[in-house]
């Protein structure tokens, strides 16, 4: 699998995401001004504060030339993973349903969290089983997932709610403890916690995040076979 990791002015976790993707395949950074995705099999929109989060988190980044290509790539079924700010960008780009609001505690909060896998049938959770617990850190100020009830009901029906915060872990106040969602087609996935920061016992506190990247590799290779 070859992974392209977008880099905007203000991206912070792009190198971490690059290193995580490199654990399961090839990876390279793609500059925001560049329309060429260089034959990537999957795209990671990383965390950080793209364009300073000005206007609204992710609101400017969605118009970057690279994002135009990513939107087209996603429409053609390419795998797109959005982490934290990347999740916000994908919601702004309407590749994912819903929106991310300011945390219920109104503060930037960093915590190692337990997440529960609700849907293990996606291209991003195929290496997990439903009900698995993943220990992954989260760090954000705008992570309260919101969508209207009809949308949520439809998402639940279609298995689009992929990850949720384990009981007691939902510090940001996300509706229904939602931590990560995918689009209807299942090829675009966004989550607030940072799987790329849970790939090494030494610095990550766990290696559970690697399973997200491993799942993507399996999906890409499965599609090829």
């Amino acid at each position: 699998m070859k992974c392209g990791v977008l880099q905007f002015p203000g991206s912070c976790d792009e190198v971490d995401a690059l290193q995580a993707a490199e654990r399961v395949g090839e990876a390279e950074l793609i500059w925001h001004g560049d329309r060429d995705l260089r034959g990537a099999d999957a795209i990671v929109v990383p965390g950080g504060f793209s364009y300073g989060d000005y206007l609204r988190a992710g609101a400017i980044a969605r118009f970057a030339p690279a994002m135009e290509s990513v939107i087209e790539f996603a429409r053609e079924g390419g795998l797109v993973l959005g982490i934290c700010n990347g999740f916000q960008v994908l919601c702004e780009a309407r590749l994912l349903p819903g929106a991310l609001l300011v945390n219920a505690n109104r503060r930037f909060t960093f915590r190692q969290l337990d997440l529960e896998v609700l849907n293990a049938e996606t291209s991003f959770t195929g290496a997990c089983s439903a009900g698995d617990r993943l220990s992954i850190p989260a760090k954000h100020a705008w992570g309260r997932y919101y969508a209207d009830e009809p949308t949520l009901a439809a998402m639940r029906e279609r298995g689009q709610i992929v990850l949720r915060y384990a009981p007691g872990e939902n510090f940001n106040g996300s509706l229904h403890d939602i931590a990560g969602v995918c689009n209807e087609a299942g090829n675009v996935f966004g989550l607030m916690p940072h799987p790329e920061h849970a790939i090494d016992e030494l610095t990550g506190g766990s290696t559970d995040g690697l399973r997200i990247f491993e799942s993507m590799r399996l999906a890409v290779e499965g599609a090829r076979a």
């Binding site: 912070c12 504060f49 989060d53 790329e196």
Partner: protein, 781 residues
């Protein structure tokens, strides 16, 4: 400059208003050969301010050790650096942003972080971590309202800047004490990594080379910050009184997004070898940056003010030259490379403008217009006069004959029981868990963080070769107030002890000397005694000082702050995987006290809770014995022999044991020999204040046993591990077995009979300890 302004020369009164003394103004006239004009006077007043010229501290600072085998870059550049192996250097420095934070805490703290990060990347290092050292007044109740506002603002500001720029905030410290109420302290430390051979100097070189200013545009923010704000005492109106807003415009406004682009742009410029030298713009803006670059390179500089991108119209040349607008850098570029530099600025979406040139005139010349043909000379000053000729002053230290500080109001009755005393200590603002603060910081971005806050006594960052850096920042100002000399030695030892607990050996030190008005003899005494202790301790530890900062005039209407020499220390350990942890890890492990611990209640946290006055002096410290104990603990941790190691600090042995239990929620059972406990505190009893008043300190315990359990001092560690490992440690350093890890409570009992009775056993469930320790959460509710 409008013609009428250039004709009306400023007067002595104007110079005084800008912070110069009459004698200094006379000297400026002499150096200039004529009275300075508005622009020149503005520039002199900033460069000759305490903040820029260190005029009351420079003579003392010259006594500090700055050389050692690990030092790559010492004081004088934007940051110091030490060798960390494999051709890499670690750059680090601590700086203060105290007065801006007292006036506007969010922006004051945020721009403090921004400023220290620029110092790091100015020498070509990528910032890899931030730590912060904060001081506020007492936070509780009605009286603490403003303190809580300052705390909340400062913590948000630090988080806002560090989080947004992608540099982890990995550690820090905060103390709450009355003397900081009207003059809070916000010190920020940053670390960076660079290839040793590529470290960059700020010295301008090569007459004919071009001066390029890049980053944010220049506005009216922060005008006079270095002189008006940083080099004078705050009055009450600045910090909560009616005139609070008067000084707001001298506080800069930060934009971490702009700095993130500036950081990446600077590092790419360096990586492509496009620069001759690089300097950040901090206090005194372009004035100080240009003058210092010229001074270091022994050249001249000329600047065309009309070429500088401005944020607002109608700015006077002097405003442009002294603006402290944030997120700007100044570099020297060979003429052939200017286009490439400007193209890279465009890539990163930062302004870039060629604003002048390096000359061989030895003068700083400021010109109007955009090119030599259409310009007029607005000001001309000899570089040497600006940078080197500010008079240095002797200070006149005299030990005060009466106590300077009021005791804090008592919050715990002397003679309370041991359980109640321990819980009160765990809940007091100086000891309670810092989780509500550090949870607001991203501690893990860049994927190097091996030990997060509260997991170990020092923060640990993994390097690519499998080794790791460790870093600690510390200062207990109340103990320094009790004894500036020994208190400062204890501070340095505390930093080194924190490093030892993760298995790291000190490489170098940075410091931020936060003191009151040095023109007063008692403050001068605190400062000179503290610097004496600092030098001795750093020499003993072979941890030379590679850079630092001085913040004086930290006084409010109610008096000076505690003398607060904040020490940051960087160390290295061979194997990141073996980095130590502070908490008990394994039920069944033995627990021991290691080191030459001689606890005393003098100036301890418990005496503060009891409302006792500060003692006049601390007990003598056997620095060599402490150093040897640190080495022994460090070596044992570094080979993975111990399960945990924790330095005994505020609250003493009992609090340290509780903290070891809290990290993983593992209890401990300790049986303490009463006679031994009493001998433990014996060594320090020569200092008044150790229960010699006849009053019970802790109910059910003798005065000495109380001092042993709750007293403080250097050189003590709580270690846990296999019996054999503790036995081995005992061959190098005094080790006393205390008990074993296990259960869900901290249980202490006493055997034998001490002079004050048996001592009643006590037991506190982990949950009870945790509830007490979580008390700071209320401040952020």
């Amino acid at each position: 400059m409008p013609p009428e302004a250039s004709q009306t020369l400023p007067t002595l009164q104007d110079a005084l208003a800008l912070g110069l003394t009459a004698q200094e103004y006379e000297l400026v006239c002499e150096k200039q050969g004529a009275p300075p004009n508005v622009l020149e006077l503005a520039m002199y007043s900033l460069l000759w301010s305490e903040h820029c010229a260190y005029k009351h501290s420079k003579k003392l600072l010259r006594t500090l050790p700055t050389e050692g085998r690990h030092v790559v870059m010492g004081p004088g550049e934007n940051a110091g650096a030490v060798d960390v192996g494999n051709g890499l250097a670690c750059a680090f420095k601590v700086e203060s942003h105290n007065h801006p934070s007292a006036v506007e805490p969010f922006q004051g703290a945020a721009t403090g972080v921004g400023g220290i990060l620029r110092d790091i990347f100015a020498i070509g290092a990528r910032p890899i971590a931030v730590l912060d050292s904060l001081r506020f007044g007492e936070p509780a109740g009605e009286a603490g309202t403003r303190t809580r506002y300052l705390l909340d603002g400062a913590v948000s500001g630090i988080g806002h800047y560090g989080n947004s720029i992608g540099v982890p905030t990995i550690g820090g410290e905060v103390y709450f004490e009355g003397p900081y109420e009207h003059n809070c302290l916000v010190n920020a430390m940053a670390l960076g990594l660079a290839e040793r051979e590529r470290l960059m100097s700020a010295a301008a070189a090569g007459p004919g080379n071009v001066l390029v200013l890049f980053g944010a545009s220049t506005g009216r923010d922060g005008i006079g910050g270095a002189s008006v704000l940083a080099s004078a005492e705050l009055d009450h109106a600045d910090t909560g009184g009616e005139g609070e807003s008067d000084k707001r415009p001298t506080v800069q406004v930060g934009d971490p997004f702009e700095e993130k682009k500036l950081l990446e742009c600077s590092l790419e410029l360096l990586q492509r070898n496009l620069l001759v030298s690089l300097q950040d713009l901090g206090a005194a803006g372009l004035t100080s940056s240009a003058a210092e670059m010229a001074s270091k390179g022994e050249v001249g500089i000329e600047i065309y003010v009309d070429r500088i991108p401005l944020r607002e119209a109608g700015m006077e040349p002097f405003e442009v030259m002294v603006s402290e607008s944030q997120e700007r850098m100044l570099c020297v570029v060979e003429p052939a490379k200017v286009d490439a530099v400007l193209a890279l600025c465009e890539k990163w979406e930062v302004n870039g403008a060629a604003i002048g040139a390096v000359t061989d005139s030895q003068q700083v010349r400021v010109l109007s217009g955009s090119d030599p043909g259409s310009s007029e000379l607005l000001g001309e000053m000899p570089v040497r006069a600006l940078v080197d000729d500010c008079p240095l002053y002797d200070i006149h230290p005299q030990k005060p004959s009466a106590p300077i500080y009021e005791p804090a109001p008592a919050t715990l009755a002397p003679g309370s029981g041991a359980e109640e005393t321990l819980l009160a200590l765990l809940a007091c603002p100086n000891i309670a868990s810092r989780r509500p603060l550090f949870e607001q910081y991203d501690a893990i971005v860049q994927s190097r963080t091996v030990r997060r806050p509260e997991q170990a006594d020092a923060a640990v960052l993994a390097l690519a070769d499998g080794t790791a850096l460790a870093v600690s920042i510390d200062c207990n100002g109340r103990r320094v107030a009790a004894d500036p000399y020994r208190g400062t030695i204890a501070t340095v030892l505390e930093c080194a002890a924190n490093l030892a607990c993760v298995g790291a050996e000190p490489l170098g030190t940075t410091n931020n000397l936060n003191f009151g008005n040095p023109e007063k003899s008692h403050i001068a005494w605190q400062l000179s005694e503290s610097v004496r202790g600092l030098g001795e301790a750093c020499r003993a530890l072979q941890a030379p000082i590679v850079g630092g900062n001085v913040s004086l005039y930290n006084e409010g209407a109610t008096g000076p702050i505690y003398p607060t020499p904040v020490i940051g220390m960087v160390g290295r350990l061979a194997d990141a995987r073996l980095a130590g942890r502070l908490g008990f890890q394994r039920a069944g492990d033995e627990i021991a006290l290691a080191g030459p611990f001689a606890p005393s209640l003098a100036a301890s946290e418990l005496e503060k809770l009891h409302g006792r006055e500060l003692p006049d002096g601390l007990a003598q410290i056997d620095v060599e014995a402490v150093r040897a104990a640190q080495a022994a603990v460090r070596d044992a941790v570094a080979v993975g022999a111990l399960s945990s190691a924790h330095d005994i600090a505020e609250g003493g042995l009992a609090v340290a044991l509780a903290e070891c239990c809290l990290e993983r929620g593992l209890g401990a059972r300790a049986e303490l020999d009463a006679a031994w406990l009493e001998t433990l505190a014996d060594a320090a009893t020569s200092v008044p204040g150790d229960g010699d008043s006849g009053e019970r300190v802790v109910a059910g315990l003798s005065a000495r046993a109380s001092a042993a359990l709750f007293g403080e001092g250097s050189g003590g560690f709580i270690v846990s591990g296999a019996a054999a490992a503790l036995g081995e440690l005992g061959e190098r350093v005094p080790v006393r077995r205390l008990g074993a890890v296990g259960g869900d409570a901290l249980a202490l009992s006493f055997t034998g009979a001490g002079e004050g009775g048996d001592g009643e056993p006590f037991e506190l469930a982990i949950d009870a300890l945790r509830r007490a320790h979580a008390s700071l959460g209320e401040l952020f509710a």
